[in-house]
Symmetry: C2
Subunit: 284 residues, 2 copies
């Protein structure tokens, strides 16, 4: 049996009781560690599970999935995913491959950032589609996310923006020379995301949002040092939220008073928050 | 401290390890049991936690929240919520009240149907806003959900439809006579939801969707007897999915081939599925 086990968002104790039972009994345990990260080290997980854990990078999952699935018709294999196995990054391809090989699979759900973002006090009902923000480079500033946000804002809906992470990336030079040397991991911050959003608006000039638009920065959702900050995109482009992972929510105008009351407590500056709110939010 | 603890979707072992630690130590434990249900009895939870559990109905949570919060500045109170505390039903009002009373609160996230629905193999990125479907009566068939679906479909997005549950409801007669006699609980089925959706379309006649539109019925997401069925709304209006809880996803045309491959395995009838797919899906 292939078990896809959600680990939740913060540390080793966020696994469910059922998930932990599965991991303790599994013959092999893999940890998917390239689309998200847990806030603890692999060694801590191994001590907690009492089992060795193999870190599965993108190459292993995408090209070597048959190694992961080897023998899984006879023994139990646990594939651990930060958040939920079918959350922000879905592992349907692994399940489809297992199906082809006649291997059964089961999913142990857990908290995902897609629902955990409810900790902001914003109603999940009021969210439109989720978008991803990648690290801009000098020559590559993809703005398809801007079109998605435009769609959401047209109906007054909030947008969850998931922020890029880069783990096990090679520099162009090392890649060209075939050297397996990896750059240090990088995690996009709320400030970087807000800046890139403003940069896209400056380029596209469709007036979808602007420096005064309200947003919420969320860091380490579900962890004991979770941090939420509400403010304008201008304010958030300067904010310091500490260690990863970060996410951002751009507010839609359908936001209602209960949502405002909840997030106002996290405002960088209550005066600018109130001023921006008055201008564009609370109408349905 | 007020702890809002997510219980996840299926049974007592879906609580996280961290959540269980909190519950075992809490002075008082409440279970919110009117917006969703776990698939196990209260007694089973109490045995698992080693703690008595007080069922909190709507009245207690909405009018008696100060009883729940009593003393919580000195002792730990655990408020258990099926799914995630800020998921489909958000408990921000309880946290706001705690704030007013100077009581700190912490959230222990867990799987919510809002992300757990990813088990269908549909990408959560491709979902628009979530809607709720209430039980229609002879004279009350609210169709505001239809407008939300229309918005989602305009951009080709999927819609998660959450289905009504009625617990501790009085009949009109008993209510009028002030008799505290409650009707047996009712949980909407996928078949009822699909029928009501078709009824609304017949009344509104905007051609937003129709009997041939594809949808997925999901029952008991996350449980060992989870069941998924893909088919046209016409087919789903006849389907038998077993015990609660049920949800439904109406497919958006932006659905892509990997999603199709995944859900086709659950098709009521692969021929009608393929025919409907050909007509309206897979374009972006």
């Amino acid at each position: 049996m292939l078990y896809l086990v959600g680990l939740g968002l913060a540390d080793e104790t966020d696994i469910t009781v059922r998930g932990l039972e599965v991991v303790k009994k599994a013959e092999r345990v893999y940890l998917e560690a390239y689309t998200s990260i847990l806030l603890v080290e692999k060694e801590k997980l191994e001590a907690f599970y009492g089992r060795p854990v193999t870190v599965a990078d993108r190459e292993l999952v995408e090209s070597g999935s048959d190694d992961i699935l080897a023998n899984a018709d006879k023994v139990d294999v646990a594939f651990l995913v930060v958040g939920d196995p079918f959350g922000a990054t879905t592992h349907t391809d692994l399940v489809l491959r297992a199906r082809e090989l006649g291997i059964e699979s089961k999913v142990i759900p857990n908290a995902s950032i897609m629902s955990g973002i409810g900790c902001t006090g914003l109603q999940l009902y009021n969210f439109g589609q989720t978008v991803s923000m990648v690290f801009f480079t000098e020559n590559w500033k993809p703005s398809s996310y801007y079109d998605r946000i435009k769609e959401n804002l047209q109906f007054g809906l909030h947008t969850l923006v998931l922020l890029d992470i880069k783990v096990k990336e090679q520099s162009l030079e090392n890649m060209a020379r075939g050297r397996l040397i990896y750059e240090p991991p990088r995690y996009m911050t709320v400030a970087q995301c807000a800046s890139q959003m403003l940069e896209t608006e400056e380029e596209r000039k469709e007036g979808i949002y602007g420096p005064d638009s309200l947003a919420i920065g969320a860091a380490r959702v579900g962890a004991s040092d979770q941090k939420l900050v509400a403010g304008t995109l201008q304010e958030l482009s300067q904010v310091e939220m500490g260690r990863p992972l970060h996410s951002l929510v751009l507010l839609g105008r359908r936001a209602h008073d209960l949502e405002r009351d909840y997030i106002r407590a996290f405002a960088v500056d209550k005066a600018t928050f109130d001023a921006s709110w008055q201008k564009g939010y609370g109408s349905s």
